[in-house]
């Protein structure tokens, strides 16, 4: 179980302090697949960055299975977290080959040694993982990532994030930069990878339909707080109109 306890995050701007997260609490159960929605500036991306360790919270605690990781840096907790970014270019390195990118992900959070990074037995793992994508990438292991399309790159990033099973998979609007058809494919792949590997995941999305359709939990963030946490049974009955109504209600109480 992953616990976020009373997370506060303030950013200093030119002449004021910007309170982005205002005491946010969340318990993520094992195998939860949480979709996160919220308007721009609500703090959902900040939340993901704090969980990943890109920057520390101003106060509060982040606990993975009883271990307090609040003070660790991003690379020090990478063994716990698989991450897919919005921009396909962020999750992969275009200038090196597919197998080199996968080799980096294969050792996520492990000590990097002076052993060869590319090995025949590793390639077997990559081929086994790439084949079900039906993109033909398993025959192109030596090709540079830059020769792939955005969708293909994002598929590889997804594989990389789960190649070594993470405690938590973080998806930050990972289909937002793709066209609708590709976006759909990537979502299907995401769901399949989460189910097949029994992963715990958290996905930010701006697509309300996706937020309702995928996962077992939906949380709404507004003004740095969680304003709704909707579980499986109720979530299945949700409509997009319900979500808009919730947001309106939250904004009215803020005023």
């Amino acid at each position: 179980m992953i616990e976020l306890k009373n997370i506060v995050k303030d950013f200093d701007s030119a002449n004021s302090i910007n309170h982005v997260l205002k005491g946010l609490n969340l318990k993520i159960n094992d195998k939860d697949f949480i979709t996160v929605i919220g308007s721009n500036g609500s703090g959902k991306s900040t939340l993901l960055n704090i969980i990943a360790g890109s920057f520390p919270p101003t106060s509060g605690q982040i606990i993975f299975d009883g271990e307090d990781v609040t003070k660790t840096k991003e690379h020090q907790r990478a063994h716990l977290i698989g991450r897919v970014f919005q921009d396909p270019n962020t999750g992969t390195i275009g200038d090196i080959s597919i197998q080199e990118n996968l080799a980096i992900a294969l050792k996520r959070g492990e000590k990097r040694t002076l052993r060869w990074a590319l090995k025949k037995e590793y390639n077997d793992i990559y081929v086994r993982q790439l084949k079900p994508l039906n993109l033909g990438l398993e025959t192109r292991l030596g090709d540079k990532i830059s020769s792939l399309s955005g969708g293909q790159r994002q598929s590889v990033t997804l594989l990389m994030a789960v190649l070594k099973k993470p405690k938590l998979l973080l998806l930050d609007e990972h289909t937002a930069a793709l066209d609708p058809k590709t976006s759909k494919k990537i979502m299907a792949l995401t769901e399949k990878l989460i189910e097949d590997n029994g992963l715990t995941a958290m996905m930010i999305t701006h697509n309300m339909k996706d937020a309702i359709r995928y996962g077992n939990r939906l949380i709404m963030i507004s003004e740095g707080r969680i304003i709704a946490d909707i579980r499986k049974d109720k979530k299945d009955k949700l409509t997009i109109d319900d979500l808009y109504a919730q947001f309106d209600k939250a904004e009215k109480t803020e005023d």
Binding site: A52, S54, K73, E74, H75, Q76, A78, H79, I81, R83, F85, T90, G91, T92, I93, D95, I96, S97, E100, A103, I104, A105, K107, R108, G109, E110, R112, T113, L114, R115, W116, A117, L118, M160
Partner: protein
């Protein structure tokens, strides 16, 4: 000038220069291409190591040990350079310039202008002379072996998990951190390796020429970059191991052209730095033109594929 002396000059100077400067180019490559930093300290680090290695020999230190100490001292300089950025948050370019300026003082203190090998002292190249009975042949032979060893070592290292992490952290720090790579640590490691290579080249250069001045390194970074760009212009940027090999060939071509320019009648060394500057400008222009042409070609290809579908 007769042809025999022209060929003798080209036949001896080109390989020696090319072999020294391919090590410099590799050092600049690690900073510029792997880490993405133009490390300006190179221009002072190169003579620093040349002077230090000669000074140590003059003080009675065996030549090979003198070279080793010069390399280790250069690694120390590389560490300071990286620490300025990682711990004091100084911009990498500025950190390199600060280290370059700082090094002029020890260089002056050690060399007082010029330092020469004291009489009766010998360099690492003397050992092979008994085999070849020809100092230049011994120098070329030993330099070739050292260069080959360095290139093989670089090929091996950058293929390991650690070497791949180093390359990744320079290319994409978000991705690297997300995969557990300590990008600050990699920056330090990268600059220490780069400085070790510059130090090795400088130390060898000092011992090859048996003298060095405070100015010996002027323009080192430009030569290093010129060789890197020339390599990419000629061979493209297919794979990492390929670019290592292309450095060696590019270094030979670079010195062949520069040496031919230098022996042209009426060429004075006064024009040398301007010549080098024009030369690298041309190389980078061709490099950029080639890149644009390649991009246009790939866009056209992509359009054709789209139409076919």
């Amino acid at each position: 000038m007769n042809w025999a002396s022209v060929f003798y000059f080209l036949g001896t100077d080109v390989p020696l220069q090319a072999l020294v400067w391919v090590i410099v180019a590799l050092g600049v490559f690690v900073a510029f291409k792997v880490l993405g930093v133009a490390d300006m300290s190179v221009d002072a680090l190169f003579p620093f190591s040349a002077i230090l290695s000669l000074l140590l020999i003059n003080l009675g230190v065996p030549s090979i040990l003198a070279l080793l100490i010069a390399v280790i001292a250069s690694m120390g300089v590389g560490f300071i350079n990286s620490a300025l950025h990682v711990y004091l948050k100084i911009d990498p370019l500025l950190a390199g310039i600060i280290v370059m300026i700082a090094l002029y003082t020890p260089n002056l203190l050690m060399a007082k202008g010029t330092i020469s090998l004291a009489s009766g002292k010998s360099t690492i190249f003397i050992g092979l002379n008994s085999l070849f009975h020809n100092m230049i042949a011994s120098k070329i032979f030993l330099m070739a072996i050292i260069c080959l060893a360095i290139l093989i070592l670089a090929y091996w290292f950058f293929g390991t998990e650690l070497g791949l992490s180093l390359r990744a952290s320079g290319k994409n720090s978000s991705m690297s951190k997300a995969n557990g790579i300590n990008t600050n640590g990699m920056y330090i490691l990268g600059l220490v390796i780069s400085s070790a290579l510059i130090g090795l080249a400088g130390g060898l250069y000092g011992q090859l020429n048996t003298y060095s001045t405070n100015d010996s390194g002027r323009g080192s970074i430009v030569i290093g970059l010129a060789i890197i760009f020339l390599g990419e212009v000629i061979f493209g940027n297919k794979s990492f191991k390929f670019s290592l090999l292309s450095l060696l060939v590019a270094s030979i071509i670079y010195w062949l052209i520069l040496d031919i320019i230098q022996i042209l009648p009426d060429f004075s060394t006064t024009y040398l730095n301007l010549t080098k500057a024009i030369f690298i400008t041309l190389i980078v222009c061709v490099y950029e033109l080639k890149k644009t042409a390649k991009k246009k070609l790939s866009i056209r290809k992509a359009l054709i594929i789209k139409e076919e579908n």
